[in-house]
Symmetry: C2
Subunit: 288 residues, 2 copies
């Protein structure tokens, strides 16, 4: 049974759509149809929200590994993570049945649900979301055990992320806000349906399973020699085939995709990953 | 005659398209067809570029008023502005015939040339740009004398800005890069044509003349009660008529435009103006 749910915005302080949704739900209350659930609304990183930055010292959404939670780092987000872990978790013995952490991205990923496991619960959730919001994408990041992820949502017994784009950092677009709200509604609706045993026999659905990160090509001096090709820009989750252009080099040449099977690029040109020179991530299509 | 031209990128450290164009032109040289001109390529705010932020202490592109240039502020950008003013200007007695300062915006403004005066030189420039790049927008900001503007480009005898969008801060989109490069080419081409006396008889063109800023509606607690309506988002420079929706309120209601004559909104939902709660700027259509 899913009884206690925490919905979190502002884990990254410049991702406005979750922040605004939480402010609105804090002001007007969670929609009445979810009254059977115990839903807590929370803004995670007030300092970063005030400063309109992703984080003050370190990325909050990478702090929730067992190793980091048990060290004594004085970085603002490390301290905050230990507080949030007590409030929402503690991780591994959590008092919260489900943590829903809301993000947005500069990539044109539309409404995306990120799940960290293909266990029975999350399979049912994925199928329910695809049935009730067919335009939503499901991204499965199960490259390591859930507990080893550093994500804030792993403080819950179960945890997922809403990721919607494209939206510049610090900007609120109505389209992104509406998709965020719609997906949050679907997830709360899923909790009700799951509790009533109505989600066990949903039809299978296709999800994107995270592959690996692809980096921008760099010069010897560490600066980029290319940008995302305009044909790849905003083509998140569209199949990318061998021979299709991926990068436009500043010398005028092009770099094409050389993978043998189609991949499903996402987080294309995400601003927050620019510092690491991550151009996009790959995914394969799998059926749950 | 236009002999010495300075092209500047990175006045704002997270506006990547100008930074990248300048890096490429520094590496490979200014295209040969502009060899008659003396063109200097410059990145203005290295610290902000390294930090991938708009500015470190204060907005560099507001520092170049006579008052600010003559004070002793120790803010990083105030110090930098005094250095740049010696290098490019000094303002009012400049050694540089034309300063072209390259920016980008999260607003969907396409390729936009910002001019600060409708004097004969800039009228010819505007007409030339519209003739050679009809998709470009010309924005005239002549609400005060050129010398009173705080823009970096006012260090030149003449100064203009390239402003291209939409592009998130810290992200480089090929489409925006190509428009930026194309407009820079057109401006250098104009300098050659102007020097040969070929620009005096160009046909008239329409430009957008800056009106005023429109703010987001705020609650008593200072937080926003509305977002840009999805019908206005990305509709920069499209005519906005009385009765058309402007804001979507979080209570579900809408706020419509009440101006009597059509206005031409731009800088719609620009991230850098979010802190000041500026929703967009208005403009009227005038013929030069």
């Amino acid at each position: 049974m899913i009884q206690s749910v925490a919905i979190v915005g502002g884990t990254h302080g410049n991702e406005t759509s979750g922040i605004q949704l939480l402010r609105n739900w804090q002001k007007w209350g969670i929609p009445a149809q979810y009254g059977e659930l115990s839903v807590a609304c929370m803004l995670a990183n007030d300092a970063a929200i005030q400063a309109n930055v992703r984080f003050m010292d370190e990325d909050l959404n990478r702090q929730f590994t067992p190793a980091r939670l048990s060290n004594e780092s004085a970085a603002k987000e490390a301290v905050l993570a230990r507080q949030l872990n007590q409030q929402l978790g503690p991780k591994g013995q959590s008092k919260t049945d489900l943590v829903i952490d809301i993000h947005n991205t500069t990539s044109a990923m539309g409404a995306t649900l990120i799940i960290l496991s293909a266990d029975e619960f999350h399979v049912q959730m994925a199928r329910y979301v695809k049935q009730h919001m067919p335009e939503a994408n499901i991204l499965l990041e199960d490259e390591k055990p859930v507990s080893e992820h550093g994500y804030l949502c792993t403080t819950g017994k179960r945890g997922v992320m809403i990721e919607v784009g494209g939206q510049p950092q610090g900007v609120l677009k109505e389209e992104v806000y509406q998709l965020t709200e719609a997906l949050a509604h679907v997830l709360l609706g899923f909790c009700l349906a799951y509790n009533k045993g109505k989600t066990a026999t949903l039809p299978e659905c296709e999800v994107y399973r995270l592959g690996h990160e692809v980096s921008f090509p760099l010069e010897d001096n560490g600066q980029r020699s290319a940008m995302i090709h305009h044909k790849l820009q905003d083509a998140d989750f569209a199949p990318l085939l061998a021979g299709q252009p991926v990068f436009k080099c500043f010398d005028g040449s092009e770099i094409v995709w050389e993978g043998e099977s189609p991949t499903y690029p996402h987080f294309i040109n995400e601003a927050a990953y620019a510092r690491l020179h991550v151009a996009f991530a790959t995914a394969s299509l799998v059926t749950l």
